[in-house]
């Protein structure tokens, strides 16, 4: 058994806690209450309260493993390439669909995120680029719940929290190009692709502003925790892992159908 690191353990505890909170929210402790919510649920279905959302956001991505791997790759080439980018925070995009019952929304979320890195060097003889591109395809289930607090001067503004968990599929592309200036020397290219899936949890706070009776804007701010995906790229570098851990800020437009 591979020993879990402390960071992984923390993430594991957080994800389980959030899942238990969501589960606890859905659990009735008294039959009367259950019966009341069952009726409300039936009303909601009858009233077709379905919310669809699209959002953009911004996130930071840990990618600590790949950063080390990149350094190792560069040392293999022996070229003193200079970093141009090193897995920077980058926009993310997503859509979700949810239904509301009582004062909570429950739904599914799909999100696309990417980041990458480049180190390069060029002179009269050649140009060298070493690029990583990582793409994350996140599919999760979430629960939004308002906490009922409002500002007196902006009563339309609602606050709450979001708890989301699910799986994230990572696609990693590495490409190194060494293009020589003398045409008689053949260019060199190295491409590596890898893919993996792991579990994640993403808790966030939300602030919602209604635009119309059926639509609103929502700002989420939270953190993304995941189990790092293990990758084996080449025998020249040790096995590494990719983690999308980092902050998430999302602006979400939601339309109630």
């Amino acid at each position: 058994m591979k020993k879990l690191t402390s960071a992984t353990s923390v993430r594991f505890v957080v994800i389980l806690t959030l899942l238990s909170v969501v589960a606890g929210t859905l659990t009735s402790q008294e039959n009367e209450v259950f019966n009341s919510r069952y009726k409300m649920w039936e009303n909601m279905i009858e009233k077709n309260h379905v919310y669809i959302s699209a959002y953009v956001g911004h996130g930071s991505y840990s990618m600590n493993g790949l950063k080390k791997v990149h350094e190792q790759f560069l040392s293999l080439y022996g070229i003193a390439a200079i970093p141009n980018s090193n897995f920077p925070p980058y926009p993310l995009y997503g859509i979700s669909i949810a239904r509301k019952y009582d004062n909570a929304r429950f739904g599914f979320d799909f999100e696309y995120m990417s980041t990458g890195a480049r180190s390069s060097l060029a002179d009269y003889s050649a140009q060298f680029t070493s690029d990583f591109i990582c793409k994350g395809y996140k599919f999760g289930i979430f629960l939004e719940k308002e906490i009922g607090y409002r500002f007196p001067k902006a009563e339309k503004l609602e606050f709450g929290y979001v708890i989301e968990a699910g799986a994230i599929t990572t696609k990693m592309d590495y490409e190194a190009n060494l293009n020589y200036s003398p045409p008689e020397i053949n260019d060199e290219k190295l491409m590596i692709e890898a893919e993996g899936t792991s579990l994640f949890a993403e808790p966030a706070l939300l602030a919602r502003w209604p635009l119309t009776r059926t639509s609103f804007l929502q700002l989420n701010a939270g953190f993304f925790f995941d189990f790092p995906v293990e990758f084996y790229m080449t025998y020249h570098v040790p096995q590494t892992s990719i983690s999308w851990f980092g902050y998430r800020v999302k602006l979400k437009f939601t339309q109630r159908l």
Binding site: G78, A81, P88, P91, A117, S120, L121, A122, D123, I133
Partner: protein, 595 residues
Amino acid sequence: MKIFYILLSLLLFTSCTFEPDGLNYVEIEKPADTHPMEVTLSIDRDSIYIYRSTNFSYKINSNGKKLNAAVVKYLDNEIIMTANAENFSFYIDKPNTDNTNKWFDLTIDFYVSTGSGSIADVVKMENYLMSKTWKIQFVDLQNAKLKTGHKIHPDGYLEVYIIKPSYLEGKFTCDNFGIPIPHSRNSGDTLFFADKSYVYGTERYQMTFKFDDNQNYNWYNWSFTVNYPEIEFKAEAYGPDSCKVSWGNSPFKLYYNLNNNLYSGFDKAYIVPIMVNEKKSFNLKINSPNYVNETYSREYKTTEFIQGTQTYYNMCYSVDKDIFFISSNESLPYISSSGIPIPKSENNAQYNSKVNIYCSPNGKYIAGHSYLNIYIYNENLTLAKKIPDIGLDYNYRPYFAVTNDGAFTYQHRNTLHLRNVSERTDWESFSFKTDLDSLYTNIYLSVIANSIDGKYICVRGLNGLKIYDVSDHQTARVAYTHPDKGVNSFVAHPTDPGLIYAVVNGELQLRTCPGFELVKNIDIELADYKIYTIDPYSRILMMWKNDDLYFYDPDTGQKLLQLKSNQLWRQQALLVRNHLKMANNTIDLTQYLQK
């Protein structure tokens, strides 16, 4: 709110997927187009012979630049050396048969870093290229036909040599059936080995090569034969009393030892005195000068010599017909005639007869005898009559003679026998005893003589000399008596029946027969001699004293020749037509008996 929408728009305009961009360009000075370099191969020649799997390395002087790679190419092989290329070495093994013993190229491309520090330089793709080519030939020693040979050193000994292939490093050795032949000298690529024991004949030499690295499995052999002709060892007449023993003319300087130090040295011939009836054997030990003290000689040759012509047969001579009659076959005795030169005995049955034959001076009558039989031949040389069991006792020189009237006279103890071998029928035989000796006394040598006409027989015994008249072939009448014992030998004149040569009181005299009157004294410088015989052809007297033979002209008393013999007085030798016929040989003395 406006700010919010602006931010939202910016996010939407952003590319959905992160795209790395940017390029860090650095200015680096380009290196020079050329760079001086030198390469030395471990076998530093342009054309290289190799003889087995050979390791090559090289030294490159790149003047401060680093060797990135070297690419070795030969035949269908290509070896790329990148890691630690400066210290790399490689082997070239034996190629396939088609490429063995042929030149092929070895090319090495050297890639030397420019040292510019550029990206291409860092990844070793920017290099100075130097290409160099050598010619290689793999010589298959196992099947190589190396030139070998031999010659004679100016000092006179044999040298065998092998021409060593160029640059073949190792040791050549030479042996002669396991006997090592020492290496003597080098001349260029030619290695010489001196066999100072060789004298002649067929010898096989084997050259062996072995590499220097003590790898016992690398042995290569070349064999060849040396064959100088054998030395001809021969003996030939050198005058009538010597022979010349010679042993050819060898190209080598050799040391000879004749008959156990009779002669030893470097000469090619030696003169050896020899007696007329002596058959002498010679042996010659042949050695090179370096081996004269060896117990066993390198070569050993033998020969033998006897003066004149080998004539084991018996013969007689008719002076009137000037012809020789030769006894040929004992079991069926017959004779043949011969002129000059007389035939040489062969090792067959033709001339092995032991029948002693005698003929009359006129050649009309021929008779012979063996131990017990008398043979009488016709004039056509066929056997006419065999008279058995005559019972002769042999002494040293039994007397036999055939006279011109056909009387075969022979002696048995003190009795003389006469047998008719002619066509006459009025007598057959008769015998008479002399009173000059006792019954069993052997009559001394050369003391009986028939006159050639058969009328008289002169006999000398212990009691004196008598001449018998046997002309009627019935009785022996004493015609002359000489009591003086001073007549020690005599011989009838070969052509005049009225004369006789006698040694009287030590003087050679010609006397009449039967009167025994002195005709003349013949003055010769000799004493204590006896008459042996007289040549009816040349009328030269042969006398003997001890073992010496003397040849005198009785007309002048001149000594013509003196020879040594080996107890020839024991034999019935003949001197006929200047030929001295002995038991085993006949010497033609014509050139020495010139009056």
